[in-house]
């Protein structure tokens, strides 16, 4: 009975869910010199959130999610560079649309496989896009990418400031907020429930007559759109695009961030991105040559001793403190 009550109530807003957003606004006032870095954190959170939707909730193990991040970034960049389409909001929308289209097509083709095969197929798809971007240098700038893109004011009011990143930060935070609300609604909807069902037991979902493949393709497409949004934001806030947006490093990085924070738990993306990027930043500053050692040790320790990332750790500590049994 209690479990059922908890299940029925868990989608309701809790008081602490306002905290991340208050903290996000507090950062704006407290660390004016770190807004460029904080903007990147916010964008990474959005990217990790999009991955959580497919990896954490639907259980699709993909190593090629940067394909959609890159598609969004290159769409925004190419529109601004070659077509003079540098209105930011519509540019973002175009980036998300292109990424979603790629997600729809590749999802349709790839999502019949699973395990290592799916991992390799997503990886190869991403690498194909990367090589294509490398080869069509006329459009993408090839290896050098597209430096110094110019964008109009956001809503015609706030210009991108190159030095302090103030408007970029708030702009990214606002887009992240919208993305987060969407994902939160999705995962608690019946659609989200059926995704969890597919992750836990595909056969049973087939047996009860759920349209498994259609749902997987749909969530893959939505996730691709969100990743495209993150990529578009990256292009606009840093005003450059290069091949690194499509690389394995970015795809593996966001996966690590999500697992570190805790996947399938909504807030894992936020905690993972902040923890990973702050740790990386501090270590790189203190030990310019050895920072990777610290990151590596952290990942190994978390994988060995912590179930379900930092969020899982926090939860078990909380349970122990409040005296309840697991």
């Amino acid at each position: 009975m209690r479990a059922a009550e908890e299940f029925a109530r868990r989608h309701r807003l809790q008081w602490w869910e306002a905290l991340p957003w208050l903290a996000g606004i507090a950062v704006f006032f407290a660390f004016p010199n770190y807004l460029a870095f904080s903007t990147q954190v916010v964008i990474t959170i959005l990217f990790a959130l999009s991955l959580d939707l497919v990896l954490g909730y639907a259980g699709i193990v993909t190593l090629g999610h940067a394909a959609f991040f890159g598609a969004g970034a290159y769409t925004v960049g190419i529109l601004a560079q070659h077509f003079g389409w540098n209105e930011p909001l519509s540019g973002l929308a175009a980036g998300a649309l292109v990424a979603a289209a790629i997600g729809l097509v590749s999802g349709f083709v790839l999502l019949r496989t699973h395990g290592l095969t799916l991992l390799m197929l997503t990886l190869c798809t991403m690498t194909l896009l990367e090589q294509a971007a490398n080869m069509s240098a006329h459009w993408t700038g090839g290896f050098d990418g597209m430096p110094s893109l110019v964008f109009q004011k956001i809503l015609g009011l706030f210009s991108f400031d190159v030095l302090y990143f103030r408007s970029q930060y708030l702009y990214s935070l606002a887009i992240l907020f919208l993305g987060f609300v969407l994902v939160r609604m999705l995962v608690y909807s019946s659609f989200g429930q059926s995704l969890t069902g597919i992750r836990e037991n595909v056969r049973r979902m087939h047996a009860v007559g759920a349209p498994v493949r259609a749902r997987l393709i749909l969530v893959y497409t939505i996730s691709a759109a969100l990743a495209g949004l993150a990529g578009g934001l990256f292009a606009q806030t840093t005003s450059y695009v290069n091949l690194a947006v499509l690389g394995l490093e970015r795809a593996a990085g966001v996966m690590i961030i999500l697992i570190l924070g805790g996947y399938g738990q909504l807030y894992g993306a936020i905690i993972g991105a902040i923890a990973y990027m702050v740790l990386e930043h501090l270590l790189a500053k203190a030990y310019p040559t050895a920072w990777q050692l610290g990151i590596g040790v952290t990942l190994v320790v978390v994988a060995l001793y912590v179930r379900n990332g930092i969020l899982g750790l926090a939860e078990s500590i909380w349970r122990r403190l409040s005296g309840g049994k697991a």
Binding site: V109, T113, I259, V300
Partner: protein, 291 residues
């Protein structure tokens, strides 16, 4: 005649790099097939082998062959320690925890080598008898590439015999196909895995050393070539020694042709072909269906 020489060039060059891919990847294929463990740090063992050879030759004055043997033994021993202490805790964990762990491990290896030896690309000095050209009658070819091919062929024959003709190999094959069944027959799959893991890592170490000439040797090695190793494993089929061998040769030759004919972005075809092949046969070219 000229055409024949061109073909021979491509085949020999492609086979040489294919052999390196095979020696490094074969262990990955068997351990992944056996335990379903996603070991993204496998390339790290190859890199450690390469550095082990480099350092023992430079500081202890070992010759190339004994350095290779030493690298095999020490990396295999090191991998057993890691396997017993760390890997074994994660066999029952989800594949995502395994990914986190092995990427962390690869980071640690990269950072340790950067700190201990330095970030630059290293060159392993080949002994005189492996340098220069060998006369094949109708053409001359690099001695080292020919030696690589000979070593690769010898290894695949040896591994094939061990796999197909011994009790131990039969147990591994059985465990790849059905682990539960084999353990209920009283085979200690855990120990089987430890031994295979050690041999696989040791072979990777040898491959890292032999392949330094072709792939290069620098601290970023583990993640730099990971995609290639994974492609070889996926195309060859999990847990199939001969499958990995043919897949490695295929990819070696393709890569060689494409790099000559389309130096700019020719590798795009390898990814495209892998994509099409895996859509057609998700279990790989030589893998068994329905696992």
């Amino acid at each position: 005649m000229e055409f024949a020489i061109k073909i021979a060039n491509i085949v020999l060059g492609g086979f040489a790099s294919g052999m390196v891919l095979f020696i490094v990847s074969v262990g990955l294929s068997v351990t992944m097939g056996l335990m379903g463990f996603v070991n993204l740090a496998h390339g790290g063992f190859a890199m450690l082998g390469g550095y082990c050879i480099l350092l023992t030759m430079r500081h202890w004055g070992l010759d190339f062959v004994s350095a290779l043997a030493l690298a095999f033994v020490s990396v295999a021993a090191f991998s057993v320690v890691l396997e017993r202490l760390l890997y074994s805790r994660l066999y029952r964990a989800g594949e995502l925890d395994q990914v986190l762990f092995t990427i962390g491990l690869a980071f640690i290896m990269t950072a340790s080598v950067t700190l201990g030896v330095g970030p630059e690309t290293q060159v392993i000095q080949l002994p005189d008898w492996l340098r220069g050209q060998t006369n094949l009658g109708f053409m001359t070819y690099r001695t080292y590439s020919l030696a690589l091919i000979a070593v690769g062929v010898a290894l695949v024959v040896g591994l094939w015999l061990g796999f197909e003709r011994t009790r131990f190999g039969a147990r591994i094959r059985a465990a790849v196909d059905n682990r539960r069944m084999v353990s209920s027959l009283g085979v200690d799959v855990g120990r089987l895995f430890t031994v295979t893991f050690a041999i696989g890592s040791g072979l990777a170490a040898v491959g890292g050393g032999l392949g330094a000439e072709i792939l290069g040797l620098n601290p970023n090695y583990p993640l730099q070539y990971l995609v290639y190793f994974l492609i070889v494993v996926a195309v060859g089929g999990l847990g199939r020694v001969t499958g990995v061998f043919f897949a490695a040769l295929l990819i070696g030759v393709l890569d060689f042709i494409l790099k000559i004919e389309f130096p700019k972005g020719g590798t795009i075809f390898i990814y495209a072909l892998t994509l099409i092949l895996l859509l057609w046969r998700p279990q790989g070219l030589f893998g068994k269906k329905g696992t």
